[in-house]
Symmetry: C2
Subunit: 158 residues, 2 copies
DNA sequence: GCAAAATAGTTTATATATATACTATAAGTG
DNA sequence: CACTTATAGTATATATATAAACTATTTTGC
């Protein structure tokens, strides 16, 4: 994958008079976008997309969950999960099993190939994130996490 | 738009043993997702998507730029911009004008309707962001911005 | 027990987004 | 001037993502 997009350009608007809330928000968007792009490039080594990695990582923690449950964990729609599982099962990473007790749900399991890939990709992903945030001191990391946690809780009210 | 997705569920993995880098990153993703969802709902009042809002806001600052230039500012591909402008121009918000000096580029301009919408939607968007980040103190906002700026710069190296 | 409601998946239409290949035009070089 | 290269935009195939409509089951309430 040879990306057409460069994130090296100086961020627009970011230094301008746009209020401290907006400025913080624009930096958050910028960091998110840049990081996602790097992660996408990284996952390309495993022939995985970001969405597919998320499925793989979740299933490697907890197999046999339904598509509905997976959708809730990933915060996406069940229709989206349906398509994701279609593609991943076509690639031999995941399989749908039926529940003898209840014929509605599909119970999701990793294939042997999916397990193998997860064992390789999940730790590499963690290490990749760790490396890319190593420009922050432990104090900055802790502060970032705490502020984002506060923000997460306060947004919940709106 | 009646969203099927709830972000109120307790964040998975976030409290677990996943390292301080990963934990901060997962909170960043969570805040980003939640905020984007709220912004999407908000923009629904103007019949705008997030991508279309970005185009509108940029063009309201600087008209007559090319699709290529717009793509670079938005950090997306020119193919993506082509489709976005197709849809926005079908909705009467934007128009493509030709450059008499160079017949390749399209110079993008807001229509009267686009201008009107931008005048309404852009300040409302800023206010919306400000409100949703009002759970943080000015000190926290400043710290967040500074840490994210540091992170942005340090990611650039990788 | 049976009709209504809830739950699980799938499908469809639409909007993003990428990479890639293609067309048209312009610029540079011999 | 002709040939190559670069630039701007478009078209196509694929992958996400949503909302909404649909099917198939199960559960609930009378």
């Amino acid at each position: 994958m040879e990306t057409e997009i460069t994130t090296e350009a100086p961020p627009q608007q970011l230094g301008e008079a746009c209020g401290s809330s907006m400025s913080a928000w624009l930096y958050l968007v910028r960091v998110y976008d840049k990081m996602q792009r790097h992660l996408m490039d990284h996952l390309d080594n495993y022939d995985l997309t970001l969405a597919q990695y998320d499925v793989l990582a979740l299933l490697s923690q907890e197999q046999g969950i339904t598509q509905q449950a997976l959708a809730q964990k990933l915060l996406v729609t069940k229709g989206n999960v349906c398509g994701l599982i279609d593609r991943m099962s076509a690639h031999g990473l995941v399989e749908r099993r039926s529940d003898p007790e209840d014929r509605r749900p599909n119970l999701l399991h990793l294939t042997a190939e999916g397990e193998r890939l997860a064992k390789e990709a999940v730790p590499a992903y963690s290490e990749f994130v760790r490396e890319h945030m190593s420009g922050l001191t432990p104090q900055q990391l802790a502060a970032l996490r705490e502020i984002l946690q506060t923000l997460d809780n306060s947004i919940r009210q709106h």
